[in-house]
Amino acid sequence: MSIAVLTQVYDEVRRLAIAGSVVAAGDFRLQKLIAPLEQAGAKAPVFAKAAQAVTALVESNEQTSSQALLELTTLVNAILYTQGETGLTGEIEPLETTDLGLQTTHVGAQVLKPLVEALTTAGSGRFETIQDGYNLGAFQDLRLVQPALRALDDAYSDIGYLLATTVLPQYGKAIYPQLKAAFNAKGKTTGHVRRLTLMYRLDPGSARPLVKQALQEGAKEMRVGAIECLGQETEDLPILLGHVDDRSIDVRRAVYQALAAINAPEAIAAIKKVLRSSDLELVTHAIYQHSIPEIVNAALEEAKSEFEVLLKSEDQKAFEANFTQFFGLLSCIGGGKYEIAEPFLLESFKQRDLLQSLGGHTGLVITRRICELLTECTAVTRQALFQAHETLESSLLMIAIQAAYKHLPPAEVFEIFSPHFTADLPQKKNLKDAVLTRRKTISEAIAGSCKWYYVPDEIPLIAPWDSRWLDLAVSARDLNFLRPLAVPGHAASNALISDSFNATLQKSRNFDNYMTTLALMIHVSHPETTDSFVKVLLHCASPKAKNLSGMHWIIDIIPRLPKSAAPQLEAVLPELHENARGKLFVAIGELTSKP
């Protein structure tokens, strides 16, 4: 009873403190409590003290009210702190627990805090933090499970994906109840889809009813997610077939993906039907990936008949109308994967001129695709492409030489393709231009095999070219052609490099224009390398130079010079632009400290 009065006093004091102590004087609600307090004070002096404090407050004026209120507050609070209610009556039941098997909480706060922040906030740089944390094994810590589960809804989809596919699966079935509790089949966010697919991955049996529910009730993304979970069980087939006519392209794509993996008559029939529909592009990848023979055969037959239709096209418009379907069918049968398709590909290749004349550019696109597929076929079939090199349009010739470089010995590649350079040029302009175009295509294909830009040898060639190409490159006076072929000590190529360098020196003060030449010089240990570097520095980084852009790459390759070049470069430093000296000094230092 006494404590109840005191609680009332506290409530009144709180009310007055909120309103301001100036209104406390004469407060009748507080005044009413003085008597009960005094009564309780007879038994416990502290209540008498409270009664006095209440009286002082009620009788206070504007000046003294604040002190009186604070005195009373301090007293009442002190008493109420000793009266805090503890415990809870009732039957105690065991806590429902999900043993995650994780009792380790040995990740330091300095690691944990940024990780939790990355999982629970927005902003850039979080993905890296989470990935680093995973690599450190931090997610073994119990305290990260909840934040990781919540972050499935992260707006940045890469984070949600990383958690769903890499981080959360490590907890196993134990997190299933929590995933289920947070899952909403009608949920609009990707997080719910991730929950569904993760639940299915962790416990397919338990998740199956949820998958079916999601398929019935979910939005488009949810249905796609649900379909991706189906296909493993016999009972899934009717469900999938029930969605082949879904209005959503994404849902149909998912359905086809699942059906293309099922080797059952109903599934095969459904996919065969797609081969003749505009949905073909939705299923081509799945057909190629799963390689069910009956479907591949059907695709091949369909491709043959579509090819016939193409060749009978009356005009380019009709050709283009049939193009997409045939192109999709080519993707289904692929190249090299099915030998049964090779005769057809070869036959199609033979019709390349007709295709191009009927379809123009579209016909060329189809021919390119056929050529690409041929390069993946058996050696015999591939050979047909190489042998046809003299008649190939330049983009097809590029495909042929690139494939030959990959599959044939260097000498054979040279034997096949070098005649384009060695044969005499025709007199007629159009024939001469055709030969020059072929030469350009071949030299570009060879130049393209060299992947380094200005740091030589950084990325080696996939395979060497025949050394005879080097002379042809020198004759063509083409540095890019020369780059993958050049070797140290080749006088003619050294001369070409020198000529090229001197020609550039006459007309350019921009570092960028010397990049290939100087890099090549280092690559072939050209005798004029150091002198050329010095000339470029004096030329492009003179004290009067207005623009030093491009100097960064020269800094990068200076350490690749022979160590003996250092004194010569150091000597030239005082003659250079002051902004260039510092960086060059560091680069020369690196060169000097080379072992």
């Binding site: 504007e62 604040s66 002190q67 805090g84 209610e85 503890t86 809870l88 009732g90 627990t97 706060a109």
Partner: protein, 484 residues
């Protein structure tokens, strides 16, 4: 012999970024040389940086409890990433060649030795008090107390419900004068009141809903009561010191700390607040960003293995200097401290030490911790309530409780002792620490029976309930931490 592991280096790092960078240097093979002295007391090496010359760094374990880190890099962090990398390399078992310590490094070691000896001599000299300066300072503090009283009275007259962004801003501005009057603690206490009306970003906005404001009224009233007590007790304490300049700062109560007295280790030693050869284990750790005060706060909860007393370390890192102040971190070993200083305070006073050695935590240590847990909830509750009634007491004391089981009553989590006394578990009212109650549901059932629970008590002024927040569970083989 230098006995360090990667955990040791982690804890020596000033922050997580420095530790990460230090590890990176080892991974990238940036160390050109790794050496250790013949007497195995110093590690030194060369690390390739962005400049031409490599950085020369060293970690000197001549004083194993207070190692010295040196590096000629321009970083203002100590240890810098190069010194950390050197220690990581050693901890990871990289090959260190045994060589003679370079001359310049040797001379630095000798200078340090002489500095340490000189410091010891200085500590032993009797300290003289400039009575005139002290009187002047106390006078200024008394003037500050008058200001605090005036501000408190103004706030009470105004009414908690009438606090506006403008008023809060004005009070903050005036509170700065308390800092000038050598009363930083009182300034913080006043700040604790005004920050109740600040939003999460630490700014004052009008337009908080009435529900939001209603939530802080009880706490605000409590804070006003606290300010009132600081004024009363502070004035009396300062007057006593003014009358007797020889009087040492008070250690019986926490009033000196509330006024903002910065305790010197020497004062604590003079007051007998030093324990020797203490072994400490960290029971919990948490860090939070105090947006309103613009500083990072790190709190460690430690138990003395011998006595079972639970005390705290606190590290305050203002935003402006955060990068240059070493951050504290969770600590998973046993700290062996030669000299432990305890600040005056109640149940969980603050502690501090300057040097420590480490040893791995062993199963017997868990047994010791469990042995210090209190099995009688009723007795603890009584003690907590007695403690809480003090207006200047820490309102969230920490205890270790030995419980019989953790379960639920109608969905509310409770912990019960062997006598059937129960305490309700909650996360409410402790926004500085992450929620922890939900983690109990993720533990094996064995962890919820007959273990030791480290808890923080909290009294809810509105519901008038005394409840607890779980911080850690100590089993015979493990310590499961729930906060961070």
């Amino acid at each position: 012999m230098i006995a360090i592991d990667e955990g040791y280096v982690d804890s020596a790092a000033p922050n997580a970024e420095a530790a990460k960078n230090g590890r990176g240097l080892v991974l990238k093979g940036k160390f050109l040389s790794l050496s250790v002295s013949e007497d195995q007391t110093i590690l030194f090496g060369e690390c390739q940086g962005s400049g031409k010359e490599p950085y020369r760094c060293s970690c000197d374990f001549q004083r194993p409890d207070a190692p010295t880190h040196r590096c000629n890099c321009p970083s203002r962090q100590f240890p810098c990433k190069h010194s950390l990398g050197l220690m990581y390399a050693f901890a990871q078992g990289k090959l260190f060649s045994t060589t003679t310590v370079p001359e310049d490094l040797q001379s630095k070691r000798e200078k340090l030795q002489s500095r340490v000896e000189k410091k010891v001599e200085e500590v032993e000299k009797p300290k003289t008090v400039n009575k005139g300066a002290l009187a002047k300072k106390i006078q200024a503090q008394l003037t500050g107390i008058d200001l605090l009283e005036k501000l408190t009275n103004d706030l009470v007259r105004l009414g908690i419900g009438n606090m506006s962004a403008k008023t809060a801003g004005e009070i903050e501005e005036q509170a700065k004068q308390l800092g000038n009057a050598y009363l930083p603690g009182a300034q913080v206490a006043l700040h604790n009141y005004t920050r109740l009306f600040a939003s999460e970003d630490g700014r004052f906005h009008d337009g908080q809903s009435s529900n939001q404001r209603e939530l802080v009224f009880s706490e605000a009233l409590d804070q006003l009561g606290r300010l009132h007590t600081i004024v009363k007790q502070g004035r009396s304490y300062l007057q006593r010191r003014l009358d007797d300049p020889e009087l040492a700062p008070e250690t019986e109560t926490s009033i000196a700390a509330w006024l903002g007295h910065a305790w010197q280790l020497r004062e604590l030693k003079d007051a007998g607040l030093v324990e020797n050869d203490v072994e400490l284990v960290q029971l919990a750790f948490n860090s939070y960003d105090d947006v309103a005060r613009r500083e990072l706060v790190e709190t460690g909860v430690w138990m003395t293995l011998k006595t079972g007393r639970i005390r705290i370390t606190q590290n305050f890192r203002p935003y402006k200097a955060a990068k240059f102040i070493k951050s504290d971190d969770s600590f998973f070993q046993i700290a062996q401290v030669k000299e432990l200083c305890t600040y005056p305070g109640g149940v969980n006073p603050r502690i501090r030490w300057e040097a420590m050695l480490l040893r791995p935590i062993e199963p017997k240590d868990f047994q010791t911790i469990r042995g210090h847990g209190n099995p009688d909830f009723a007795a603890v509750i009584k003690e907590v309530k007695t403690h809480l009634k003090g207006p200047l007491a820490d309102k969230q004391p920490i205890y270790a409780l030995n419980f019989k089981r953790i379960g639920q009553v109608d969905g509310t989590r409770v912990v019960e002792d062997a006598k059937g006394e129960r305490l309700v578990l909650t996360d409410a009212g402790m926004s500085e620490e992450p929620a922890s109650c939900h983690l109990l549901s993720q533990l094996p059932p064995a962890c919820l029976e007959n273990q030791t629970l480290v808890v923080r008590f909290v009294h809810n002024l509105d519901t008038r309930k005394l409840q607890i927040k779980p911080l850690s569970i100590v089993t015979p083989t493990n310590m499961i931490r729930m906060t961070f």
